[in-house]
């Protein structure tokens, strides 16, 4: 930079200081304006001051000077004590908030189911008709034997679940599930099953011809189904964000060709969990050659 400019700049800054302080005379102001014309920085600076003739610039500049010479000019250099206190309070609050949720997650299914029954069903409008449980909650299930079986189940504590891999469900599965769900209309509530497979207490006994025999010896595929559900049932992000967990109960007809159709939900949780359950049903390798009404509980826990 040219030394002459430094000289002019020094002079300009000195005159600007006098102008800010109010010490400038008419002759000095003329000089100030003349110097401002020669340089964009000076001109912009002076224009700024002239826009606010009434403002007490001297006080502002004095205050800014003091602040510039403070020892820590950078932001966030010091962690203020009040931020530490705020962080500690937030941690305490978070701990208090999540404590009952943990308890709820490990509570028996019966308690969760009661809560789910009180919660209105939240299924998106775009969901297939079969997903909507239009039946009243107190409607008699198609299989009368289900109620004592459920009561027996509720009295038992839940077995701990295995660790589940975090496997995402593919988009193709969603399409397949939607297609399957809209394939058949909802059967009448009192429709008699052609054959039931009461292999566990969760299975509806229905009007099966040989219920006692099958109860005594659960089939292997049913055990596989339970394992599959334990492994793959994952809460949706929406449910997770809203601290929702529990079970959904669905009914469906296992067709001889190995497809589960006519699925209806007896108990729901909302937040996209029913959709997840449908995808799980579509993803299971069902046995071929059976024609059975099934009642299935799917647990979704953290």
């Amino acid at each position: 930079m040219e030394p002459a400019l430094y000289t002019e700049d020094d002079r300009f800054r000195a005159l600007l200081e006098r102008w800010i302080d109010g010490d400038v005379t008419a002759a000095e102001e003329r000089e100030l304006f003349r110097l401002a014309q020669n340089d964009a920085f000076r001109q912009a600076a002076l224009d700024g001051y002239l826009q606010f003739p009434e403002t007490d610039h001297a006080t502002v500049v004095r205050e800014l000077r003091t602040r510039v010479h403070r020892p820590a000019p950078t932001k966030f250099q010091i962690f203020p004590w009040w931020m530490a206190v705020a962080a500690a309070m937030a941690l305490l609050l978070a701990g208090w908030w999540f404590w009952p949720t943990q308890e709820q997650a490990s509570a028996p299914v019966a308690a969760v189911e009661e809560k789910a029954l009180e919660t209105p069903e939240q299924i998106p409008d775009t969901a297939p008709l079969a997903m909507r449980s239009d039946k009243p909650a107190a409607a008699p299930p198609p299989a009368p034997a289900a109620d004592p079986a459920r009561a027996a189940k509720k009295s038992k504590p839940d077995a701990p679940l295995r660790d589940r891999p975090d496997t995402p469900i593919e988009a193709a599965d969603i399409a397949a599930a939607e297609e399957a769900m809209s394939a058949k209309p909802l059967p009448p509530a009192d429709a008699a099953p052609t054959r039931s497979a009461p292999m566990t207490p969760q299975m509806p006994a229905g009007k099966a011809a040989e219920p006692q025999k099958e109860k005594a010896a659960p089939e292997v595929w049913w055990q596989d189904l339970q394992r599959y559900l334990r492994t793959n049932a994952r809460l949706t992000p929406e449910a997770r964000n809203n601290n929702i967990s529990g079970s959904v109960r669905l009914r469906g007809r296992l067709q001889p060709d190995g497809k589960l159709t006519d699925i209806t939900f007896e108990e729901t949780l909302g937040y996209g969990i029913e959709r997840q359950a449908l995808l799980l049903m579509q993803g299971f390798n069902w046995p071929i050659g059976k024609d059975t009404l099934l009642e299935i509980d799917v647990r979704f826990v953290r």
Partner: protein
Amino acid sequence: MLRSSTPDDLQSLADDALLDAYVREGSVRHLGVLYERYMPMVYGVCLKVLKDPEQARDSVMNIYVELTRKAREHRVESFRGWLYVLSRNHCLMALRKNRRHPTDAVAPEDMHRYDAIEDAFQVEIAEPNKPLEKCLEELNAIQKQCVRLFYYENHSYKSIAEQLQQELGTVRSHIQNGRRNLKICLEKAGINSSQIN
């Protein structure tokens, strides 16, 4: 004077020397002295762009914070010019962010001139002459008094404020408005204000 009590040995150092000291040693004290040198100009630029003294004041400190970081990241050839661009861009960004007055956005190329400074340049009252006296009489009493004291009797703003028992800013405003009114009056009379001197 507004000059702070920073040591004279640092005040006497050139821009380059102060910047070098900061880049090499990380001495914020050196950078503080350097920034303080141009800070009134930075504040003026921010006033011009933001049109809000409060925001301009905050921006001056934010620019300093930005400076402490960027001065070490960039190779700065001319600190003064670089600081001007940094300040102007910072304030333009702040203006865009706030958007309180969207129509007030000022493009950099439009910043070159502002009417206030032209008024000030073109109406410079060196000595009384006939049309000027006539226009001066048309000013309101307080403007006329301030203009006379400032231009004819060579008083400073502060001195006029003390005499008239007015705020310094008010006196400055009266003189600025009086000057603008004089210019308008002279133009109406068919006299180019630059002919006055």
